[in-house]
Amino acid sequence: MAFEIMSGSQAAAVAVQRTGIDLVVAYPITPQTAIVETLANFDARGELGGEFVSVESEYAALACCYGAAAAGARVFTATASHGLAYMHEVIHWCSGARVPVVMANVNRTIGAPWCLDPDQGDSLSQRDTGWMQIYCSGAQEVLDTVMQAYLLSEELLLPCMVVFDGFYISHTYEAVDVPDEDSARAFIGPPSFEAQVKPGSPANLHGLTTGDNQVKLIRNRHEAMLRAPDLFKTINSKFAETFGRSYGVIDSVIPPGAKTVILAAGATAETVRWSLPKLDNTGFIQLRMFRPFPREEICSVLETHGVEKVVVIDRNCSTGMGGIFAQELRSAVYDLNNPPAVQDIILAGGIDLTFEMLESIIKEDKYQGQVEQIWGVDLK
């Protein structure tokens, strides 16, 4: 292991190279491009270990991943924003077809109008597509999560999206502890899943079926995904043994007596984590796994600590409703005996979260009590 200075995008690419990838499929889109470029450089130096193909669109990129995964290959692609939106049909198709695919999505606002800032609405609008989604708060986490995503995806036969914020994570550099190739490959092992397309054994895949059959497939997929939190824990204990660090589906820091907790996913989680010592009596939950939603884990933390209020940082907005993480949380805590109040901080458009904003949310009188929704722009 060695520390290297790298961006979040490079960290994603290095992780992919370390897995012993079979196929990388690339199509450029800001702010993701550095991921596939780094992989292209591995390829040019003969160090990728697999094939590298660049195609004519994001749709083609994911379709190509699907084809290779159906043939038993370990695959990767990366995209952002409009690229992800354009893939939408194949995103559903991959999970319906139960092929393991790992894709990085670098959050960026979806237009119109054009905007490059890291709104999370791109990945969140793929919430119901049957993909696991894991949000990362820094480059180290990106590297580790991409590696772990292969084990999750190949075991559950469900695709997994590793998500991180454009620019704040994709383009900023930090010291990253990079596993050497041998230990990374020993940790992940070769692809363990069965190919759907097998030479010499022809099959008709994914043809027309009836609703009665489809419901069984949907249920299987749902039940498979519900296994993800436990599997993630197992993968992380093994990861900790090998590499000395690990992650939960959520991570929490709740000081004794704290009745207010801030919940965040992605880069804003890092801002909250670093602000915590200066925010009296406030706890923190980093939402890492979003699909499946770690309801049990969150509720257990909230109940154990008797949390009365959760401030949710939503760098997104479902028009007509509000922040998506807040909605999910409200639904998750609904059955608790003493559900906490949920306050939604909307940073849609990808606007930045500052310490001063957090301070006014936690300390100013006008934001206490029953204020359900606060627009980040009003805090500036």
Binding site: A26, Y27, P28, I29, T30, T33, V36, E37, A40, N41, D43, A44, F52, S54, E56, S57, E58, H82, Y86, G111, P113, W114
Partner: protein, 270 residues
Amino acid sequence: MEQLTQDFLRTKKLPHIWCPGCGNGIVTAALVRAIERTGFDQKDVVIVSGIGCSSRAAGYLNFNTLHTTHGRALAFATGLKMARPELKLFVIMGDGDCSAIGGNHFIHSARRNIDLNAIVVNNHIYGMTGGQHSPLTPTGKKATTAPGGTLEPAFDLLKLARGAGATFGAKGNAAQPRQLEQLIIRAANHKGFSVVEALSPCPIAYGRRNKLGGAVDMLREMKEKSISVERAANMDEAELEDRTINGVLFSDDAPEYAEAYYRSIGKDIG
């Protein structure tokens, strides 16, 4: 002339974002002068663009302008043209935008022979995202997604257009902007789907990686390699190797789609 050209620019939006030496400004200026020469009413002109460096031109031009999604500019423009057939539409696209992600819309616009003027700024690369190879990157040229040189053959865009049904195709370049201007005027006056492929230097994301020198070197090479359709007609294949044939490569007659449609519902849009 000077003043009128200024009227066609949103000067408040300037300076533009293009790199020093980029050909996008030259192509945009040729387009502006061409529109001026056609005498089209400013309020009837619509500029539609997709995504990429060249597509930023829509923001700088003082007409009705529509900046759309990657590869889809022609589809947006088709809707506009069908609803308001009297409008004069210029669709600015880059090579990746037009021929990769937007390839489908390109061939179907050609097939319909709808009266749109596609200005394809071909710099052989995805410039805005930092230099990935496109379907118009010549085989062997380097890109960030092909650091050892791309293995893929490139499209011949104008042959593709004609094969799909386009009725006007011309090729020009940023090194010969007056000729480019004339080609755009011809395209604008042609009824049907017109494609003007404008070769343009991208010294930053393409030239540098392929050791083609600076913008001036790239423009010089562009000019030296270029040969007119008329002169090329008397040359054999060996002589034409590595040359770019410039000018109007085809101009055919076929029914235009919007006109045919309106006639079918009993309206004559002339």
